[in-house]
Point group: C3
Chain length 308, copies 3
């Protein structure tokens, strides 16, 4: 992640009711733009499991996505750390921070395709109404309605209650078209002294046209291939966008939900959770939504654990 991590002064943010920022807390600057792209949901043109071909006429469309930029929106940059998925615009930048950090997301609307307003609305973090990013006529401001060519800076704080992974997404007047078109990404907030995982996989379940996508792609061979080695600390960041509930499942692995073992978990629109394990099961595994019609429509991918 491109972030200017300056040590924050130990001042109380009094008016907001916050106590002093913890020692070592950072102010992280992230530069993001809404950019038009041409997107192919099924780049290889086929559903390998069912043996069905899909023509580009059914799978290619123009849309707008979030793209990470260098300071001042000078150069586009990677959205994801290496190994976290395909770095092509869905999901948007993985925004990492630690509890106690402040985050400044500098957003620019470069939507020249549809010439629509856009915004960023963040879950899980603390902010004032002017950083809410949601549009409601009569009470919200420019934060929820960033016109083409304009910018807005969202000022966020990662509290102890922000630990975990969270969605962000467009909440402007165009939110429904934009979310259906892929304007979403994730925040990943770890505890003050919690280590980064060795692998962090971002999994966004979202319907896309008549397909069911993971990170904007459908069917094995198009969805991200996540990889890890035995011994690595692996983290899955899972969320859903759209209008449907899903069940996240990984073959051959289990985790604990408040102490109770699980290998399948419901995730509804804008819900999110993270799962961590120390990998020890070599093999080529499936991960997928276990809703049958969603699997059939492409919500399935491969997780490879290779011996070193």
């Amino acid at each position: 992640m491109r972030a200017v991590a300056a040590t924050a002064a130990l001042i109380a943010i009094g008016a907001a009711g916050l106590s002093a920022a913890p020692a070592g807390a950072a102010v992280r600057h992230v530069w993001v733009a809404a950019v038009p792209v041409s997107w192919n949901i099924v780049p290889n043109g086929r559903d390998a499991i069912m043996g069905v071909r899909h023509d580009p006429s059914e799978t290619v469309f123009g849309t707008v996505v979030y793209r990470r930029y260098s300071r001042g929106w000078k150069h586009p940059m990677r959205n994801l750390p290496p190994g976290s998925g395909d770095d092509d615009g869905m999901p948007g930048p993985l925004i990492r921070a630690r509890v106690g950090d402040r985050i400044r997301v500098h957003f620019k609307n470069l939507d020249t395709r549809f010439d629509r307003s856009h915004s960023m609305h963040f879950h899980g973090v603390r902010y004032k109404p002017s950083s809410d990013g949601a549009y409601v006529p009569g009470f919200s401001g420019d934060d929820g309605d960033v016109k083409p060519g304009k910018t807005w800076t969202y000022r966020l704080t990662a509290l102890p209650s922000s630990a975990g992974v969270w969605p962000y997404h467009d909440h402007s007047p165009s939110m429904h078209e934009s979310i259906d078109g892929g304007m979403w990404g994730m925040l990943s907030i770890r505890g003050r002294h919690e280590p980064l995982p060795d692998r962090e996989f971002v999994v966004v379940f979202a319907p896309m046209g008549r397909f069911q996508s993971i990170d904007g792609r459908a069917f094995v061979g198009n969805t991200p291939v996540f990889t890890a080695f035995p011994g690595q600390l692996v983290q899955w960041d899972v969320m859903a966008m759209g209008s449907e509930h899903h069940t996240f499942h990984v073959h051959g692995h289990r985790w604990r939900e408040h102490g109770v073992p699980a290998d399948t978990k419901t995730v509804g629109p804008a819900e999110s959770f993270r799962i961590r394990w120390r990998e020890r099961d070599p093999g080529t595994w499936l991960y997928h939504c276990h809703v049958e019609t969603h699997m059939e429509q492409g919500m399935i991918g491969i997780y490879q654990v290779k011996r070193r």
Copy 2:
């Protein structure tokens, strides 16, 4: 709430296997009737966010709701404590009790509009089969089939396993039409020594005709405007009725699920949960179901935290 709170004698309710009621436990009497009303899902006639108008011909219908009454069904009374939402029949009476209390719900069917049987079925509390309120031919009794003009008293006990918030709803032969028409409400059972919150908001997600409603209303400006002041203990009582799953979200706030931070939570039909926080974030916030199509169809409202 109108309740006759007499100190219960310390007698064991032996046959039911209950041990002695705790000191200070009350017997709470609640009087409820099923009453016909004319209901408007979109009283102001518009969806402010999308800028669409809705004619009364699409939004007004006749239905039956639960209404609180004074002892002996003499006078109609408020269903909700002040500040808990619009007091107009959806939801039905907020029935509050404490663990250890016994509750007597005296129900009268005043449905002169459809001339249908009705009933009350309560979640979360203990009762004998004669207070179940569910209709199944061949084994259930009059509790599940209260004819127009008739009455039934439901005898409930709040056990330690009853702490929390719970649905009640019609479970008579007309239950499907009645639930679609708004015959539901909530029980709120707090621990023996747990304080009442300063604000208690009742949020019922339910489809209503071609709209998605909160407490029987659709769109900002029609759904309840909940209000609080910084420093107040705020409680959200959330449930769903109908045939769909939802995700409850409040902007700018978080809570903990068994210790894990969350700001969005799945709630399916008849599921229910309560969320509490000490308010400290002034602003005008949105609360809504995060299922996109549900937001579009009206399942969204405003939560105002005003500086004193």
Copy 3:
């Protein structure tokens, strides 16, 4: 359950990274076949609650189910322990084990009706890729594609993270038709020193044709009648298959979710959970999915607690 329970030698299963099996751990052999049957979703031909009749022409179909067999697939045997539901093929064998056990499921495909490949994919337990049972062209082997007349042995280990109840189901190229047709069952893994319950009820929510079924049956009078006596330790094993989310509810009873009382719980496709209580409430109760349209389409049954 028919299982050869030999005490396992205390050897480390080194290559798989497992430490030594605990003292008293067993190797459990289970023999299962996929067999064709004629199935009636509504054997008594009626929906007792709505008073509607259903003709066999709407409710009878040919399908394939899992059936337990004696060693060497010699004789068909009971799928379920007495009192756990109707022993007719849906669900498949209840496979019980304890943490630390190894399980060998010997599967034979006897599908002479459709002449399709089948397989078994298990949730919750540990296995190598060759026991995954899932078909993906190009990387999976015969375990996920057992041709008619062929056999496969799935080698599973119940780890501490396997405690609980879990689905198994067909994951072969025919999985979608097979799961819709009832090729599923449950694993029930209890802790090393955890007692068997007195009653164990297997509840599988699955759409079936235009009905919503419990264990392949629709409507009170067709769905399983579960029975218990006061004082018994009762366990409900609940899961869903298909493409829809459900909410499991039992009348007149409550349980705890990580300490929080509940009586209704969402279960999505391939999610599963177990609920235990010491029974003390005599009566004839309903258990059902609380999604309204699912109740109307048959997803409801009776639980009888009889005084001795």
